[in-house]
Symmetry: C3
């Protein structure tokens, strides 16, 4: 789990993901000699801060977003949210501007948010939750499990993947915007019929820690029934523990596949977390294990 | 009107439209020998559950969505809406899961919705309004006139159509998502400049039962004035009774044409209904007749 | 500033921009002999009411929307907003229908809006704010500075531009819809990596009249940090006065670039105004000057 700990300490608030991209490019080059299949690698200015790995002859693509929620400095000591972070009085935030490193506390007052840093922070500076990782036998707790675990699971998949795209997308927490050009590229280079969203979902009254990886039948958006049934049937045969989610809200990179100009079936599959979008997101390690396993099974059988 | 009665009894809640697609494919193969022009037919996995009919050399496409609003079983006895159904205490709902057929009543309590079925319903199971069709000399009343009448009108159009696309789309009631790939295909195969949305709209303070088919000048979205004027001018000459709608809300497959990467003019044209998104939607038969007629005229003169 | 005064007196509420398009086509043909580079000109039915000018070998595109907010006549004496106009009791509105010219006053009552014209106005008729332009040494005040100033600035840019697209888009005030097909055309004809949105923003607690052109770090949507930093660095060296905006709301044609299938970096750059979406929008002339200047600098150095 060393690579996961590393992932958790990289700051990449939406729109400023290049540190994470650099890490992933470096990781890929270092590790791919041990992978079963050597992927074609696509990144650089034509892909903004995204990274695509093409293994063999893909019919399925796996997407993991590499950005996180956070905050941006506005005027005076005001902050504007990036994505939808929970606003918790006194939360420690960190970042950097041209004057140096920043560590400050969040305060909220009448629906507005402020920082208490001892000097003005340059306009547009991004701030992240201060990271604190806790791991015991049962649980991992940290900021940004959403979506460091999705990235981690996708990287585990790379080790044995024979055919498929593994794609690291940006901006997801703030409305998206990289998926359309990623899909455009994928469908021209080596088109797919299926997409899986490697991301983290919610513990709710129907989804519990320890009951397995979540296959999402719907969130705010609804994938096609035929495809969900195919996935459930493969999962059922695999013996990997899974649970079925039915929500009326929430969205993922799947949304942009649904509305893309391609007939690609999609499904969100990932471990559930508690304390969503707080500095102490919490996931059961057995659910993360099931997540890693189900992706290996699905990419073989879809 | 036998085919309309059949259409009204097929369940196809958004994301699970394959029964309707199968019906339409069968209907087309059975009837097309009597049609003036034999269309090219496109369907299958590359089109998800959509169906496209290409007649002659098209400059206009007609879109009718084949999905309906409904409900999906969540956890315990909870339901989540699909699209925007009216929540009416005691409404009968029907469906099927792996344990058999389902008939139950809807209950609402503090903004949540429940069913009263005697056993748990499998997660993700879709439920529809129980169908009851009533037809007299003046009116037809049933669940899902929206958009069975739009499909019916499009099928009537097929009988005499010489040039044009007739397209059956999916997911419309729940945010859309098939239009982008349908438009991508159409613009590559035989591109169009105009699109008409064959769908059902609302009786309001400016739109009355019996006053003719509705030409919508705007809903939440605004088609181009030049195109609307052309349509009104053709309608005016035709003698078919019509009324003009101006609304600030509501949307249709036209929305996805507006935001598509093609400069295609669009307009929503359809009969108005009362009791929108309830089990007892109501449309004047004379308005449906006018709808069928105006499409024949427009496809000839646009 | 004569051309600006002319621009301000043309009515072009979203969906009915053809008068403005005609003016711009005429203007271009009249003036382009004095421009440093003669552009290729694209307009006509394939572009709806948009106009594109291609200068040399573009790597950047500048977008200025030519539509305005306004109102549309509904039933009886009701009005529906087009875009988001401020509703100010007693505001004078003007327009035309088939019965002749219209001048009336706006009234609001319980969240609905009405006009007081002496006869019914034809359904779907667009009404604009009555125009009144006031210019002194420091300020210009008028209806529709948003986005007549953006158009004006783009036209000034044309005089010396060597390489770049200058694009006049439609529908922006009402959700957009021309950008996707404009981008599709641009990326096929002469693709770009950068887009600048020539539009007018807001005076707020961090943005003041007279402090220079606004470079927007974010509005509701967030452009990529790397690109914003490049723009700020060019602006800094240029000596043109500028100020940095960080907002949580508001959107522009940049939104549709963010969600396009192309990896195009974008940034909103324009003068700030007070009294947004009222008949008396107000902009400092020095900020407009800075806007004109920064575009010339950026198109040379990006």
């Amino acid at each position: 789990m060393n690579s996961l700990i590393e992932l958790l300490h990289i700051e990449s608030v939406s729109g400023d993901e290049s540190s994470m991209t650099d890490f992933l490019i470096h990781y890929t080059h270092k590790r791919m000699s041990t992978w079963k299949v050597t992927p074609e690698i696509y990144f650089g200015d034509d892909f903004h801060d995204c990274l695509l790995l093409k293994f063999g002859k893909p019919s399925t693509a796996v997407f993991a977003h590499i950005d996180t929620i956070g905050f941006m400095a506005r005027y005076e000591n005001q902050l504007v949210p990036v994505g939808g972070p929970e606003i918790i009085e006194g939360t420690y935030l960190v970042g950097n501007d041209n004057l140096g490193p920043i560590r400050c506390k969040l305060h909220s007052y009448e629906d507005a948010i402020y920082h208490d840093f001892g000097r003005p922070i340059e306009r547009g500076t991004r701030l992240s939750f201060e990271q604190k990782v806790t791991i015991d036998k049962e649980f991992i707790q940290a900021a940004y499990l959403d979506n460091r675990l999705g990235i981690y699971s996708a990287l585990q998949l790379c080790e044995t993947l024979e055919n498929g795209w593994v794609v690291f997308s940006t901006y997801e927490e703030h409305g998206g915007g990289s998926m359309p050009f990623l899909l455009n590229f994928i469908q021209k280079k080596a088109p797919v019929k299926h997409a899986l969203i490697s991301d983290i979902t919610w513990v709710t009254d129907g989804i519990q820690h320890g009951d397995g990886v979540v296959i999402s039948i719907r969130d705010k958006y609804i994938p096609r029934k035929k495809f969900i049934e195919k996935i459930i049937s493969i999962a059922e045969k695999s013996g990997v523990p899974y649970q079925l989610e039915v929500e009326g809200a929430g969205a993922s990179d799947g949304r942009e596949i649904q509305f893309s100009p391609y007939a690609i079936d999609w499904c969100f599959i990932g471990a559930p977390e508690d304390n969503v979008h707080t500095p102490f997101e919490k996931v059961a390690i057995s659910d993360l294990d099931a997540m890693v396993k189900i992706y290996k099974v699905l990419l073989e059988h879809l």
